[in-house]
Symmetry: C2
Subunit: 770 residues, 2 copies
């Protein structure tokens, strides 16, 4: 764990330049707008350790996988979101000396991520080896108003010399992915152009043939009148730019404003993509820096008004939760159903920027409660559009009759992962897909989604579960053999309780939904039944009912808890406090087999099931299972502590709830797991938000109704959060003695607080004692 | 399956040249002498498909492993035996045209592996694109008398032209491994030299710094007096040789004899290794081809006299069993305890030429019964010398107090394998190491081996088992969680019966051996006890006794069989005949998860246990388990059918025994698994031999005594085999009505035939009716 980020409610601040922290800061200070993302690499040349990353949403490459021993059914490719044209580059040259923070003496270094306005700012004084000193101030942002545009304002002041200073703004397509499996370059240049004050370059990805065009247009600013400059364009293989030569006097400041456009062929015709990008950069130039900045501020202010969380009396917690909300919004905006949320978003290469079940289990609840329902709906439609591929995937694995297995990792619907114990066995992800449909409808009331899209997905997933179980005559029940639950510290187990539970629930829910659509929309029902050949090969509904009724879900006689999987109770059940000093986290210290046969649980598993279906269990059951499994859980997944925090809140275990919250909230800011340099844990950030809203706030949506059961961690004086629910926008403030519910919309809402029903009309405020 | 090899009792014959079969033949016709091995690549240039392979025993490279997702404890390197200097090369040039069987028209092609004499012979007529015709005859062998030497006699006759003919004998260090994980070259040239009629080159392996020197010396022969030739040496980067230019007349034959030496730094001082090789080649030259050939014949005749098997009335079976015996002897001679037996021997790159449990479980019984006890002893000492590494390996995995886990795959004692389910979990291999000690002593009576070497190994392995189990309060027994049995179609199971059984047996056997050594050699006992800190941290002997007594070994109430592992009986138990047409072998058609949750067994597992400890089970138990597990076994390991064949023989299931024997005997000759091109299944060849001797012959060694229970497959008229047992060499012939036991040694023996004790004095023959 580290502690170099300055605490501030609205800003992430780094003071002083430590090259050893640079990669971590590059992740933390990342900016993005859902369409593109950029690590906080320096504009100028930097020969120190850096992970350069410029990412363009949806632009991926199917890298050939690397495996030890090939197993039948493994996918041959691992799609990864690519590092794309480096558009931030502005090299700086002073009298023939290159500015490079690795060789210069750096003082007064400050890097700020202004969360309120969505800006990255940096300033420093550099003393070059020759002794020449400059002061640099840069500001950049990816516009959330003009999503194809980004802008950089880069200002240099000559502190102790007069002479020549050059800016070399460039667009560099000569980029690689550090995680390339076979050191391949993924980009081919298609075209480029460079003129005075502008340049453009277009690359094509190998195999997938995406085009990405980047363009810039420049403006120069300076103080004083006596500054002259010349501009000359240059163009070479995979690189275009301008050289802007100033002659400046000591004390003078010169600035370059680089208006950038980044456009992919997801949004533009390939034939004209480069001119489209050039026009877009020119439009940004015309709009001007000041206007763009103003619009950016206004747009972020609007976002914050929908989803901000305030925490009084704990600036570290305040900073952290805003950071998480910022990054969620920088990653995904819900404007395009072809996009999704990679575990690292646009902040690194790890996990390939591709989609996991994290989206349905963690991100969806965030967007459902903080954004227009359309945003969450797009996430669902993403999976609907992949249904054909999920059916293909299941077919490859030997399933039939339109059964679907959604991939563990994907960008285009095809499975990318290639560890058998995950790829083939961690099938609970299929349940996350069906539960997401329920969750969406429960939150939004958009029942029409079922007939239009959801039902087909549910049928295909139900078919999978029905075929995946088998009858055990000895147990007089259906068993599900050879699975991996959310706890990936167990592989190839039988009857994972959570997975069996999801299967059971899906089979029941699908039958309910079929009945509902049959009743409400018989024409569409018939259409779907025909399209899916429902009941064509067996009496599916009866069999699904039978499987749901008879699937084994063992409960332990001795302890009364649900058994994580067959044989779990044979283990030596020692609390995680028994792990010897220095051997934690166990995945870094123990061999895999030792982890597997230990009782230690990587992330919520039985408790994930209880969390998901909390309404079905009384507090006693929750307590019994929590008390049993919590001490065994090592939380070596960033997705784990939030679930435990929420359940602890539910049980009134306030200390524990706060402990787990802390662990998730500042995971990246404090580099808790020593891996922030790889990128931020974007999807687990949604979990942090859940820990506040569902945990401390006790927010639940049950049968379409909103419930609140707020508690207040004793470390906080007060907190507030905003949620959007069925067209109402509520700001809920929790103080030691009062709960205040402000309806900031015009639409009234009925809700329950501590089990008591209340009506809050539009623009009204409800105050309740605590 | 293919059927292009001509049947012959003593020869492997290929007639006609089919480039599509070339890689298969390159494997089948491999030669070796335990010190080096050579695939049957052509001497002349060949631009068609070929896997060139020249291997030198014990010379390996730790190639960086390739894994998908790294897990803690994985080894970083996979040692592989290297493709080394190509010493067979003799390029042939006729009037400027290169002989290349890929471009020439080839007729009368014949390739013969003369098993009786250990020779590879080849002859053909080639019509070059120009129309010039030559007849080629080549013979080569790796000497089993002068183990550093090989020799090639290469004769060319001009059939339809007179003119220039060149031989270009060469030594080529510019070789690669096709299985190199990152396309690296593993060799660096150290020195080279070339003179008239001789050349030498020395390479060093990267990282491991082995040196291998190759040298040749040439002799030329020709018929008629009017043949003139010139010789010029050449030397270039990684390549040395001579060019021998003949001018010949139509009908004349010219021959080149290439006397080769291949010496590694395992056997020579690096400083002088190249001159050592040159001297060795010169010595071979001095001895001369005719003498070398004579000695080779005599040496092989002696080998066959010790281990030949004859089969009357079935030439295919006769050819196959000799082929297997030949290859076993070409691979390992027992002269050097640093060497071992790779699954492909010297015939290919697959499995890296490194050591598996195949050695102890399959090869050891072969050498124990067919060779001097010293040979088997060397195999045991190989593991003894690796004990330190095995302890290190276990320590890395979290075991303590000198517990040892022998590696799954190794060449120097370090683990190379990197699939967690095998590397960390397929720990029954540790039991194979301890059982091998018992097996060796049982066969040889060499009890001294215990005190000298064996006991330390047994203690370390017992410590492993003791720590690997854990007490289950619920089952009131010790359980062993998270293992993979011999059936690799199940991973990460609990309480694999076979593994638990081996653990139990080892713990008991170790205690017995401790008592024995304490009694017989108290000084050495104390020495070992001190060296191993026996009992230093706990009362080890009592605890081992407790674990052995209380380890769970579940038997199924319903069927009475031993349960392969926990939960096996929950599976849908369908016979392998239920596998749909076209889906066999399942590892090529089913995804891995489907295989895992199916009931299908890759290779003998419970039955491997019953085979190993057959004496402990009555025929009813054997029958019950065989009848249950046999139909579930798909034999997708080449090591499986032999065990089933032996057990079937034991049960009097003659048809089945013969069926399984056939499947293993001609596995490579008929390319049964479509993978002979990768190399031969050397270790499973030992299994074939076991199927004859232990299966049909019913040979057992029980409490140091020899037992025979011969049966005669009805497809055979008679068969005989030779075994060496406690200084007696016996030839056992089984005919329909008589069993004939000839003692070909001077040492008498007491043995049991069908349960009846007999004495066979030296040089006596015992005839018994059947």
């Amino acid at each position: 764990m580290r502690d170099y980020i300055k605490k501030d409610p609205w800003n992430i601040i780094e003071e002083g330049f430590d090259p050893a922290l640079n990669r971590i800061s590059e992740s933390i200070f990342s900016i993005g707008n859902g369409r593109m993302g950029q690590r906080a690499n320096f504009e100028e040349k930097y020969s120190g350790s850096s992970l350069r990353g410029s990412y363009v949403a949806g632009v991926y490459y199917p890298d050939k996988t690397r495996v030890g021993w090939w197993k039948n059914g493994y996918p041959e490719y691992f799609a990864k979101v690519l590092n794309a044209t480096n558009w931030i580059g502005i090299h700086v040259n002073i009298e023939g000396e290159e500015l490079d923070l690795a060789s210069a003496k750096v003082t007064n270094f400050k890097r700020v991520l202004n969360m309120q306005e969505g800006l990255l700012q940096r300033s420093f004084v550099a003393t070059l080896p020759s002794g020449k000193q400059i002061e640099v101030q840069s500001t950049r942002f990816t516009s959330i108003v003009d999503c194809d545009n980004a802008v950089i304002r880069y200002a240099v002041r000559a502190l102790n010399f007069s002479g020549k200073l050059s800016f070399v703004p460039l667009l560099d397509l000569n980029v690689v992915n550090q995680d390339s499996n076979y050191d391949e370059q993924f980009w081919v240049e298609i075209s480029r152009t460079a003129a005075q004050c502008s340049a453009a370059i277009t690359g094509e990805t190998k195999k997938t043939a995406f085009h990405v065009a980047c363009a810039f247009k420049l403006a120069m600013e300076h103080d004083g009148d006596d500054v002259s400059y010349t501009i000359s364009p240059f163009s070479q293989d995979k690189l275009v730019g301008n050289t802007v030569n100033f002659t400046i006097e000591q004390g003078q400041t010169v600035s370059l404003i680089k208006y950038v456009a980044v456009i992919s062929s997801l949004y533009a015709d390939k034939a004209t993509i480069q001119t489209t990008a050039e026009a877009s950069a020119a439009a940004a130039y015309s709009k001007g820096y000041a206007t763009m900045l103003k619009e950016q501020r206004a747009a972020w202010a609007k976002k914050w008004a929908e989803c901000d969380i305030t925490i009084e009396g704990d600036v570290a917690a305040q900073q952290a939760i805003r950071f998480n909300i910022l990054q969620m919004n920088q990653t995904y905006t819900g404007e395009d159903e072809r996009l999704n949320i990679g575990p690292k978003g646009f902040t690194g290469e790890k996990y390939g920027g591709v989609t996991y079940w994290d989206t349905e289990a963690y991100c969806l609840p965030f967007y459902l409660k903080t954004a227009d329902p359309q945003v969450a709906r797009q996430l669902l439609i993403y999976r609907y559009k992949h249904l054909g591929r999920a059916i293909e995937n299941a077919t490859k694995l030997g399933f039939k009759h339109g059964a679907a297995l959604y991939p563990m990792v994907t960008i285009n619907g095809e499975e990318c992962h290639n560890e058998w114990e995950i790829t083939f066995e961690e099938i609970h992800r299929n349940g996350a897909m069906s539960f997401a449909i329920y969750n969406y409808i429960n939150h939004t009331g958009d029942v029409d989604y079922l007939a239009e899209y959801g039902l087909e997905v549910l049928i295909a997933i139900s078919r999978f579960w029905r075929q995946r179980v088998q009858w055990s005559e000895r147990r007089k029940g259906y068993v599900m053999l050879g699975v991996t639950g959310p706890n990936e510290y167990e592989n190839n187990v039988n009857n994972n309780w959570y997975t069996n539970l999801l299967a059971q629930w899906t089979l029941n829910y699908t039958r309910e939904c079929l009945a509902l659509v049959k009743e409400s929309n018989p024409v569409r029902y018939t259409e779907i039944a025909e399209k899916t050949h429902l009941g064509g090969h067996e009496d599916e509904l009866s069999i699904w009912a039978d499987v749901a009724a008879k699937i084994v879900l063992p409960r332990d006689n001795q302890t009364g808890v649900f058994i994580q999987h067959d044989g779990f109770m044979d283990k030596e059940l020692l609390p995680m406090t028994a792990i010897p000093q220095g051997e934690y986290p166990i995945h870094k210290h123990w061999s895999w087999d030792r982890i597997l046969r230990s009782c230690y649980i990587k992330q919520a598993d039985v408790l994930q099931g209880i969390y998901t279906f909390e309404a079905n269990y009384d507090k006693e059951t929750l307590k019994r299972n929590f008390d049993f499994y919590e001490p065994l859980t090592v939380h070596e997944s960033s997705l784990s502590p939030c679930i435990h925090s929420i359940l602890a809140s539910s049980l009134g275990y306030e200390e524990l709830a706060y402990k787990f919250y802390l662990r998730t909230a500042r995971l990246d800011l404090d580099d808790y797991n020593h891996d922030t340099d790889d990128g931020l844990h974007i999807t687990s950030m949604a979990g942090t938000w859940m820990a506040v809203v569902e945990g401390f706030g006790g927010v639940r949506v049950r049968e379409g109704g909103l419930q609140l059961n707020p508690s207040l961690p004793k470390q906080w004086q007060a907190y507030s959060f905003r949620i959007t629910f069925r067209k109402s926008l509520l700001k809920i403030t929790v103080k030691p003695d009062v709960i205040c519910i402000e309806n900031e919309s015009d639409v009234g809402i009925e809700l329950a607080v501590y089990g008591q029903a209340h009506n809050v009309l539009g623009r009204q405020v409800l105050r309740l004692p605590r």
